[in-house]
């Protein structure tokens, strides 16, 4: 006690300190309440008051075939996108962990590069590559691999290609930061004890990297659910996902009740996933805090 009291003396008392901290964050809190939570609450409010008060909009989750279809399509595309992105992201992150010097810089650069290119530009580039008389089909046709152009665009395949391309960096970043924390000497030790390379990877590296996989997976899945531009352009009207569906309800047909209900649903799904994610991994670490 005697040793610690001189250090404590100039400080504020615990609850004073806490009050001071609250004061510091107050402007940010007020701004969030006024500009974010209040409008958000209004959106929730519309979903239970329009066109008539009640839960009629939410009943559409069960009764409306159109809503079913958009939910199923969205879910299917998000699951496939997440799975493919994780596999690609895992391989890339693994390579980055092993790489050194110029290789590492090169890999990092090419992983991050797409992040700096507009999503519109990327979608249009895919159109050029994938369309029936596009670069890929022309090449395959002239090489004699195929006799009829493949349908690579204006279907779910095209949308998934575009979405995976967008999402890979978001999968790599948490995976890489997780893998870098793994002590590679453990693999060496396993090898020394007679494990094959594959066995050492499967029994040691893979389990240690699982938190990164889960974090990446949830992140990618959450992002995928809100995709708007990519499905609209690469789906060519044939792939109708939830974000675009909400857009139509809000701006075009002013069916605000249905639109806000789906927006609420999307929000609830995302918050649930975030909560799950928070239980599995340290969120602060994931978003870059030391």
């Amino acid at each position: 006690m005697a040793a610690s009291s001189p250090a404590k003396a100039p400080r504020m008392r615990g609850d004073q300190l806490r009050r001071f901290y609250w004061l510091l964050v107050m402007p940010a809190v007020l701004m969030m309440v006024g500009l974010y939570f209040f409008p958000l609450a209004k959106v929730l409010w519309i979903s239970v008051t329009e066109p008539v008060p009640g839960i009629g909009n939410y009943a559409k989750l069960i009764t409306s075939e159109s809503v079913h279809k958009v939910l199923i399509v969205t879910l299917r595309i998000c699951v496939i996108t997440t799975a493919v992105t994780l596999v690609l992201g895992y391989v890339l992150s693994y390579a980055m962990v092993q790489a050194k010097g110029a290789w590492l810089r090169g890999l990092t650069f090419f992983v991050l590069l797409p992040l700096w290119i507009s999503v519109l530009v990327r979608a249009f580039s895919w159109v050029t590559l994938l369309r029936s008389n596009g670069v890929i089909n022309q090449a395959l046709l002239s090489a004699g691999v195929i006799s009829e152009p493949l349908t690579l665009l204006r279907n779910e395949f095209g949308v998934i290609v575009g979405m995976v391309h967008y999402m890979v960096p978001f999968a790599v970043l948490p995976l890489y930061s997780n893998m870098r924390g793994i002590d590679l000497r453990l693999i060496a030790a396993a090898r020394l004890l007679g494990a094959s390379p594959w066995r050492a990877f499967r029994r040691i590296f893979l389990p240690l990297s699982l938190p990164g996989v889960v974090a990446s997976g949830v992140l990618v899945f959450i992002f995928s659910m809100g995709f708007y531009v990519t499905p609209a352009l690469l789906g060519g009207g044939r792939v109708f996902m939830i974000a675009e569906y909400i857009g139509v309800q809000i701006t075009q047909t002013i069916n605000w009740g249905l639109g806000t209900m789906l927006a609420t649903l999307l929000l609830v799904c995302i918050l649930t996933l975030m909560a799950l994610l928070g239980r599995i991994v340290d969120m602060r670490k994931l978003f870059g805090a030391a």
Binding site: K69, V73, S132, A232, V248, W256
Partner: protein, 376 residues
């Protein structure tokens, strides 16, 4: 401009003019001719109005952006300002989407006076009590072609959904109707449709053999059945640029698109791509007034002026390809432009006039069904 939602014709005009300007195809000749005419109007108007000494007033017109702003300023705003000194007409390009108008009117913070809306959204918003009715004592009904004046909107320009085809493939026996359009045996290849129910049900029904005068009221189920038969052989456009692109790259051999875009393709490809007015679906735009607009009844006068101004309408036809809606305008159209004027008597008689009343009542429901069926 976001490319993600279905683009309206009104939005497309803005993009179109920009593209034309970029390609250096915009002729200033018609522009200058009309401006000279306007100058005369301006001088005489000035004398008459000096005595009126109107208080300075601003009217905000809202369209969908791009160089269409320039066209509006010269053909709509300037003539009105010349006749009404002290009134300033501003062209805002933020895009008056149905959702935005609703939000604005409901929050009672209306900052716009005249909006460029589609017939469908004018009727939709009018039905929700969000628009001022058009005052047909101010706007002269005799300035509007038959079927183009709506309770909540009166527009000075029109456009049409027309059939375009690849004449290098089908030039010997070109398609003449929507029945031909959907005849995949006779005309093999992909079709291009619009990803919006508006005008597509008319196309589908006529394609299924419904005569032009029996299209309305639309048999929605029959239209959807027809769509199910053809949807696999079709690509869908959402914006005017996209409709051009799909035809230009040959992804579709035949398509439905706006006449403004069809004209560009026909001229650019020197007739390899050709369009026909046969069974086209023609509709006016709607200039509408959001409820509680700041300039009040002055907005009615501005709409009246644009609908009465024949020279302005002809000028805009040369500028963007939009058809005049004043029945006296067609004869003033220069001979070389007549073939591209949707409301030229020779072209108009081949087309179906869009039934905005039906669409205003049914658009929401029918469009959702259409989009769902396209997605299959």
């Amino acid at each position: 401009m976001p490319m993600t939602k279905v683009q309206s014709f009104q939005e497309d005009c803005a993009v179109l003019a920009q593209e034309k300007l970029a390609r250096g195809k915009l002729t200033r000749r018609q522009f200058n001719q009309v401006m000279t005419a306007l100058g005369v109007v301006g001088a005489s108007g000035l004398l008459a109005d000096k005595a009126m000494a109107q208080a300075a007033k601003e009217i905000v017109m809202v369209n969908w952006g791009g160089v269409a702003k320039e066209g509006w300023e010269k053909f709509y705003a300037a003539p009105f300002e010349a006749k009404n000194p002290g009134v300033k007409v501003t062209v805002d390009t933020s895009g008056p989407s149905t959702g935005k108008i609703r939000a604005m009117v409901e929050s009672k913070k209306v900052t716009w006076d005249v909006i460029d809306a589609s017939v469908t959204s004018a009727i939709l918003l009018g039905g929700m009590d969000m628009l001022e009715p058009i005052d047909y004592n101010t706007v002269k009904i005799s300035d509007m072609m038959k079927g183009f004046a709506y309770p909540f909107g009166a527009g000075p320009y029109s456009f049409s959904n027309v059939l375009i085809y690849d004449a290098s493939k089908f030039g010997n026996d070109p398609p003449k109707s929507w029945v031909d359009f959907f005849d995949f045996k006779k005309y093999p290849g992909k079709r291009m449709l619009r990803r919006d129910a508006n005008c597509m049900f008319e196309t589908l029904l006529m394609g299924d053999g419904v005569p032009m005068d029996k299209v309305y009221p639309i048999d929605v189920n029959r239209g959807l059945e027809m769509l199910k038969k053809v949807r696999k052989d079709a690509v869908y456009w959402q914006s005017g640029t996209e409709s051009e692109q799909l035809m230009r790259t040959g992804e579709a051999v035949m398509g439905v698109l706006w006449n403004t875009r069809a004209k560009i393709l026909q001229e650019e490809t020197k007739g390899k791509l050709k369009f026909t007015w046969n069974q086209g679906i023609i509709q006016p735009t709607c200039f509408s007034i959001p409820k509680g607009n700041p300039a009040g009844p002055l907005a009615q006068q501005l709409i009246a002026s644009t609908c009465a101004n024949v020279d302005g309408q002809v000028g805009l036809l040369g500028f963007l390809g939009n058809g005049p809606t004043n029945p006296r305008a067609a004869e003033k159209v220069p001979a070389d432009l007549k073939q591209f004027n949707p409301t030229d008597p020779a072209n108009a008689k081949l087309q179906l006039v869009f039934d905005g009343e039906w669409w205003g009542k049914n658009y929401n429901d029918v469009n959702q069904k259409y989009l769902d069926t396209v997605a299959g």
